[in-house]
């Protein structure tokens, strides 16, 4: 159980680090697109690791104490992970597309290569 707790702590540490990096990236970067780049990917990765830590902890309790109600927790957490991963990727795509079509320019941009493809 001690080794299991150590693995869980390591996974939580990775997850919290990436969530913190994503939040700080919102303030460190200059425009909307780079902020989207930092925030979406880092928070998705960090949340994956936090949920993996929860899965490991629940599976460990299930294996050590024989408490089979932990399987409910694991299934629900996996469903939450699927919802999070699918919606984050498509949502980020939608946000970037909407911002580009509304005329938001990247910081210090000179040429916009996508401008002629606006109405495809």
């Amino acid at each position: 159980m001690v080794a299991l707790n150590i693995v869980t702590y390591i996974f939580i540490g990775i997850g919290l680090f990436f969530n913190l990096v994503g939040s700080v990236g919102l303030h460190r970067l200059p425009d909307m697109y780079t902020r989207l780049h930092a925030a979406t990917k880092c928070t998705t990765f960090g949340s994956i690791f936090i949920i993996l830590a929860v899965i490991i902890q629940c599976a460990g309790i299930w294996a050590v104490e024989g408490d089979s109600t932990q399987s409910v927790m694991i299934i629900h957490v996996v469903l939450a992970l699927v919802a999070l991963v699918v919606t984050n990727a498509t949502g980020a795509h939608g946000m970037a597309r909407a911002a580009h079509r509304s005329g938001e320019k990247p910081a210090r941009a000179v040429v916009d290569d996508l401008e002629k493809k606006q109405n495809d």
């Binding site: 707790n5 869980t8 939580i12 997850g15 919290l16 969530n19 913190l20 994503g22 939040s23 700080v24 919102l26 303030h27 425009d31 909307m32 902020r35 989207l36 925030a39 979406t40 928070t43 998705t44 960090g46 949340s47 936090i50 949920i51 929860v54 902890q57 629940c58 309790i61 109600t69 932990q70 409910v72 927790m73 629900h76 957490v77 469903l79 939450a80 919802a83 999070l84 919606t87 984050n88 498509t90 949502g91 980020a92 939608g94 946000m95 597309r97 909407a98 911002a99 079509r101 509304s102 938001e104």
Partner: protein, 85 residues
């Protein structure tokens, strides 16, 4: 297993994102910050479920929150884009 430091760090992350929601120049930046906030809240709800003694109904709340916040993001994105709907 002590989950309290994890939830404190997540609260700090959420606070940083909220600052950007109120500061951010323009609607797209605020939308990005709000989407980050939603992801962090879902992760926090998973941690809260573990912290209060493995209760699965917090995870149900997290699933519904993730799906509804996705719908909100797409609606606001379509509004920023200037589409009619």
């Amino acid at each position: 297993m002590n989950w309290m430091p994890a939830i404190i760090v997540m609260m700090v992350c959420i606070g940083i994102s909220v600052v950007r929601v109120f500061m951010g120049p323009g609607a797209p930046t605020r939308l990005v910050a709000f989407d980050t906030l939603n992801t962090l809240v879902v992760a926090s709800l998973v941690i809260v479920a573990m912290m209060t003694g493995n209760r699965p109904f917090y995870i149900d709340v997290a699933i519904v929150y993730a799906l509804l916040s996705y719908v909100m993001t797409l609606y606001v994105a379509k509004y920023i884009q200037g589409d009619k709907f």
